[in-house]
């Protein structure tokens, strides 16, 4: 945030080099992203994980809910990563569970950003009574402890993967809303916005075409990080026994097998590692994106 507030004078300063303006902002950001080693590492890791869950079922067609052997079979030629307390294949669980976990993360992050952008944009653009009301609502959601609130929602509406996804989205949109609101409030009084308005632009046009593109960069970073947070959230809910028992996910594997960690460490360590790597890679990518679209850092490099 603080870095972005100084962006305007900085661009003015560097505007003396017209050659740099030739590339589109997206391509510049991408090139910048490639220069961040941690971001590239994260992206590679993430691609491997996504490919694994996408192609995995073709290569290893085992139903994660089926019993393939006796309970607590250690990793062996038959079950590469062993079986859990019922005799379900841990590797199949990782592959299919990864799909569910990543899907929950992505969809929950989308919900988070969608609600956050809408509320933040309306509040920041109109100000006054609308702003006051929306900020009050945001604050109401913000003071509820997110995990407890999500637990209540899941308990009320049933332990289904869709409910869990919606619940995660519903409890974590507040920071995105505040971020967007701050950006809109900062931008709406700048000269180019006033110029657009003077040229006859309506509210909708101003919000969507003028303000939104300029407010997006920090929101994109926050959205990337929200995916990781949502995956962790799903893991936390499952760990507390509030997962969807009919859909294998990494969190569910962890939550159900933790009682048997002394009998079958493999059923806990592998999904735990998977969550760790997925969240780590997403965070690294988020950092890389932040570096790439943050003008002050760009200049420093």
């Amino acid at each position: 945030m603080t870095t972005l507030e100084t962006s305007t004078p900085l661009t003015v300063e560097s505007s003396g080099q017209p050659a740099r303006r030739a590339a589109s902002p997206g391509r510049v950001a991408f090139r910048q992203f490639l220069r961040s080693p941690s971001g590239v590492c994260g992206a590679c890791l993430l691609i491997v994980i996504i490919l694994g869950t996408a192609i995995g079922p073709v290569v290893y067609p085992v139903d994660p809910l089926d019993l393939v052997g006796g309970p607590f079979t250690p990793p062996s030629a038959d079950a590469w990563l062993g079986t859990d307390y019922l005799g379900r294949d841990v590797l199949a669980g990782l592959i299919y569970g990864g799909r569910a976990s990543l899907a929950v993360g992505a969809v929950a992050a989308l919900i988070t950003i969608a609600i956050g952008l809408t509320v933040g944009a309306l509040a920041g653009f109109f100000g006054g009574a609308i702003d006051a009301a929306l900020v009050k609502i945001t604050e109401f959601f913000q003071i509820l402890p997110p995990l407890l609130f999500a637990m209540v929602l899941v308990t009320l509406f049933g332990q289904k993967l869709t409910t869990i996804t919606l619940a995660i989205g519903a409890v974590s949109w507040t920071s995105a809303a505040r971020l967007t609101r701050a950006e809109f409030m900062r931008l709406r009084n700048l000269d180019f916005v006033k110029a657009s308005r003077a040229a006859g632009a309506g509210d909708a046009y101003l919000m969507l075409r003028v303000l939104l593109p300029n407010a997006l960069p920090p929101v994109i970073v926050s959205a990337t990080l929200a995916i990781g947070v949502a995956i962790l959230f799903e893991g936390g809910l499952s760990f507390l026994g509030l997962g969807d028992p009919n859909t294998m996910s990494w969190g569910l594997m962890l939550g159900q097998n933790r009682n048997y960690v002394l009998d079958a460490w493999w059923a806990v360590i592998f999904p735990g590692t998977a969550i760790f790597l997925a969240v780590l890679s997403i965070s690294l990518v988020g950092d890389g994106v932040n570096d790439a679209i943050n003008p002050r850092l760009r200049r420093r490099m």
């Binding site: 809910l65 089926d66 019993l67 006796g70 309970p71 307390y85 019922l86 005799g87 379900r88 308990t155 049933g158 332990q159 026994g241 509030l242 028992p245 009919n246 159900q256 009682n259 048997y260 009998d263």
Partner: protein, 531 residues
């Protein structure tokens, strides 16, 4: 002396008090006393108006009852030194011991027995237990005659310590509501131990009653019952020897751990009376489960052997019928539904549910009691994979808490559910409720929530309830069990693996049919624990 010095002295004094009181609790392990740890929190100590393990354990120590039982279902004299059942079965005469007194010194008389029996009939949740009792006559202070409207062979089991505590009429007969009587928390009975201290939700102390009517008993001077909310903490205390008795252990892994400990003896004896059963219940009024062939097919696909052998690690006894293993009335010769996928498929085809193009026939849901994952959730998940083999898609419905599950099941909003139900000794007390068509009562959990109704079963249960000849009664119950197993309103899986753990060195262990819910007056240290 300066103020500072006063404060210092005070602090030392406080420290001394803290350390001595700490020592007094620790000492109980070394003197002639035993420490019990339990996760069960008693609402109060009066078993006359409250069922359940939490109250029954202390209530059986504090209150004596007319009879007690050995480990082979034989009644033994207790407050009644002898008893006669009239040839027509319509009255039971109890001849009471003459030297029994309550903890406050008053003698136990037939008046107290009469008062208690009528109080239990009026207040105890098990309404069928004493339904036959009309009144109790008291011709003299040591004779009580129980008059019955019809013969009631289950009455003798109902006189067990866990079910028929004899209350002092001069304390509880003051006209106050018995369910909320103040003396329920400060009980006065005639049992081997008296309650001396209760710290709500933390611990209670039972001390030897010097004037207990059985000579030489109880053998322990003191029993401290620590209420531990975390089962794991109780387990660790048991392993370390801080706790001498850990009752009602049900976790397969916990049992395993205790069995491996060198200083602990673990036994599954002492639960025959409770008769806990784990089963899979069907909503027999809901399609497609209203077809007996569908229920039988599910039973053939379920594979009891795997559940008992693998999921329960062989710690549980397999159960094949509605009367728990260990009861003399259990009928072993019933169809055991040995796993047979071909037969299951055949039955489903015959019932008109052929496999669809995707290999599935229909979908069902399965519920389970939350909280005991090993006994409940794991089996539900296992059944999902098993039923998939025969084309039934089972969806596991988790319930966040017990009331949610009970609400669903008792309002018939379920297809299949896992359940744990106790037999409570005689079928009349704990079995009939599940199968009598007159007990299909919406909203009440552990009634006939399967909505199972078979006139022949109703008839058999009613006949057996009043049959005085033990042989004929057994024959009636065995026919009942064969019919129920064939009708499959419930697929019986196993006896809940309950175990009691004791420190090595303790003798006179409670291995009778009521186990820890019988008087612990014979428990003693053969080799006292090292201090």
């Amino acid at each position: 002396m300066s103020i500072r010095r006063y404060l210092l002295l005070g602090a030392i004094g406080l420290f001394a008090i803290c350390t001595t009181s700490h020592r007094s609790i620790a000492q109980t392990a070394s003197s002639n006393a035993a420490v019990i740890a339990t996760t069960q929190v008693p609402r109060h100590f009066n078993g006359a108006v409250q069922s359940g393990l939490a109250t029954a354990m202390p209530s059986s120590q504090i209150f004596a009852s007319p009879l007690r039982y050995d480990d082979n279902w034989n009644p033994q004299p207790y407050l009644a030194q002898s008893w006669d059942v009239a040839p027509d079965g319509l009255s039971v005469t109890l001849h009471l011991v003459k030297n029994a007194v309550f903890h406050d010194g008053q003698p136990v008389t037939s008046e107290d027995v009469a008062f208690s029996i009528m109080a239990i009939k009026a207040n105890h949740p098990f309404q069928t237990m004493l339904a036959a009792v009309e009144k109790v006559d008291t011709p003299d202070p040591s004779t009580a005659v129980i008059r019955l409207s019809h013969p009631s062979p289950s009455l003798l089991l109902a006189m067990s310590p866990a079910l028929m505590p004899i209350l002092p009429k001069h304390v509880y007969g003051d006209g106050q509501d018995l369910k909320a009587h103040p003396a329920n928390l400060k009980p006065i009975g005639s049992g081997p131990f008296k309650l001396t201290e209760y710290k709500q939700g933390e611990y209670y102390t039972l001390e030897k009653f010097d004037k207990f009517f059985m000579p030489g008993r109880p053998k322990l001077d003191k029993i401290v019952v620590r209420i531990v909310s975390d089962p794991n903490a109780a387990l660790v205390s048991m392993e370390r020897g801080d706790v001498n008795i850990l009752p009602f252990v049900a976790g397969v892994r916990d049992i395993d751990r205790l069995q491996k400990a060198s200083n602990i003896v673990v036994t599954d004896k002492g639960f025959a009376g409770v008769g806990p059963l784990n089963w899979l219940a069907f909503n027999t009024k809901k399609k497609p489960l209203d077809d007996v062939r569908v229920r039988q097919a599910i039973a053939y696909a379920a594979n009891r052997d795997f559940i008992v052998g693998k999921l329960m690690s062989g710690k549980a006894a397999p159960a094949t019928g509605p009367i728990a293993p260990g009861s003399p009335l259990e009928e072993k010769a019933v169809d055991s539904y040995k796993v047979d996928y071909a037969k299951a498929a055949e039955l489903l085809d015959a019932a008109g549910y052929p496999k669809g193009a995707d290999g599935s026939r229909f979908g069902l849901t399965i519920d389970y009691i939350p909280g005991a994952d090993e006994q409940q959730r794991n089996v539900a998940e296992y059944l999902r994979s098993q039923l998939k083999r025969v084309g039934i898609n089972l969806e596991v419905r988790a319930a966040p808490d017990f009331p949610t599950w009970a609400q669903r099941v008792s309002n018939y909003d379920f297809d299949l559910t896992r359940d744990t139900v106790f037999n409570w000794g005689d079928p009349v007390i704990g079995v009939n409720r599940t199968y009598l068509s007159s007990n299909i009562r919406k909203g009440i959990i552990w009634s006939n929530t399967q909505q199972y109704s078979n006139p022949k079963v109703d008839e058999l249960l009613q006949a057996a309830a009043v049959e005085t000849s033990p042989e004929k009664r057994k024959a009636l119950y065995s026919e009942f069990q064969k019919i129920v197993v064939k009708d499959v309103p419930i697929y019986f899986i196993n006896a809940t693996p309950y175990y009691n753990a004791f420190s090595k060195g303790l003798g006179g262990l409670p291995t009778s049919i009521w186990g820890m819910m019988s008087p612990l007056d014979e428990v003693h240290w053969e080799t006292p624990p090292k201090t």
